[in-house]
Symmetry: D2
Subunit: 148 residues, 4 copies
């Protein structure tokens, strides 16, 4: 455990959205369950993909599928609480994108340490064939704008 | 189905909180899953119980357990969306409370019809024995304030 | 609360499936959260609709949407545990079906009292127009076979 | 993506439990949502911790908290389906344990490739202070028995 990276800071991220925790997020220890963090993370990323990058999840020809996620948990979050989900694009490939996402009790100050640090990788695919497709320019532009 | 009650209106409720839907709420048909409505409802009710009525879910001697819930679904909600959870206390018993809760796309106008109408009944119990206990005055006052 | 109906019994239901509870189902009080019951209920009903009634949730022209659910909670369930979801069709309309569903700690004996009693109403609709459609004969037959 | 590790095989794991997917696990693309995988994973791990390693989640003095999780998604799972959750202890520290977990459509053959490969790290802590504690011998023995 010695080599464990320290928590990131709110100031490390250009984007943030705030979301309320839910009663059902709490586990028997009174903390937001680890799996619930991922429901917050994919909500923030997908909201960006839909609203800013123009992905049409209902009928568009290109959809983004998750190929890898991970999270390090530093200190607990709970219900009731508002949570700041801070994020940036860390790596943009031909048809993939990796986000770095940090979660904080809201409102987080610039130097607040993250409660959790996560990464999340999407690959853009054709809806029918599920084969990778390169980012169209408007999507690539929106993702480039999310780089730190 | 002939006798089905019409949707309630936003103006029927004195209280409201707004919460963001999540990616995981959507089912295969692109709607918020019926079970997810209940996670919104018990979040709004429990937030009131904790913040306004003073219930200490982690170590208080009195806790509120759910004994009955129900929901009629009028039209779909989706992700991404913000949802207004409007609510009022409809019946206050010696140790029970029944809430009426309506969900709306946010921001709802006064005459907006509800996407769903729900009821939710809590019974106050002793944490150790799980036997019903009468509402202490501060909790009763907070619940009375939530009557329409 | 005086008029509260007693729990139903396992023997009241012709159908049953068993499902494992999950860590995330437990709330801060160590019980399966009320909303999680509905995820068990709609899993059992939809499994029947898909496997026995032939509903194709991915691309079929007819889909079943939830219009009403409700549940009375008698005693708690928990994780880890296996749960028997007993069910029957209580009412079959032209394009609707209402299930009665009871949940039990598994394995339930014939006279075991339910931990919770629920109802769940689906309406069959056209996938594109979302207008009600009458049950095709094979679906009606499968639902008739589920009557008590 | 060139260096991406291949999926593991069912035969790589000494332990396995089978769990049913749920309707609510499916996302709008008809796949089990990425966050839902973690609810399967922590259910399998915690069931082992409770049933085999003797952790008392309700009132024991020692509890296991999650400090890191991650998952690589190779091909989709769906509802309805039964899922084999294969697992082994990959690293056992003084007060921590890292599991490797692979998910498969059930029943998986010995050479079936995993749908997803995950890791999951618990740290044993004192319930009150939340400080790390060394594994008591019975817990350490149960975890040692889960090594591949």
């Amino acid at each position: 455990m010695a080599a464990r990276l320290p928590p990131s800071r709110r100031a490390d991220y250009p984007l943030c959205e705030t979301i309320a925790s839910r009663w059902a997020d709490n586990d028997v220890y009174g903390h937001v369950n680890n799996a619930a963090y991922y429901t917050l993370i994919d909500s923030a990323v997908n909201r960006y993909m839909i609203v800013r990058a123009g992905v049409d999840i209902h009928s568009g020809p290109l959809i983004a599928l998750v190929v890898e996620t991970g999270c390090r948990f530093h200190h607990p979050l709970t219900f009731p609480q508002h949570i700041d989900i801070a994020m940036k694009v860390a790596r943009l490939g031909v048809s993939s994108v990796t986000w770095h996402i940090a979660l904080f009790e809201s409102p987080a100050g610039a130097q607040s340490p993250a409660a959790a640090d996560a990464h999340f990788t999407h690959v853009l695919v054709d809806r029918a064939t599920r084969r990778p497709e390169p980012w169209p320019d408007p999507m690539r532009d929106a993702l480039t704008a999310a780089m730190g």
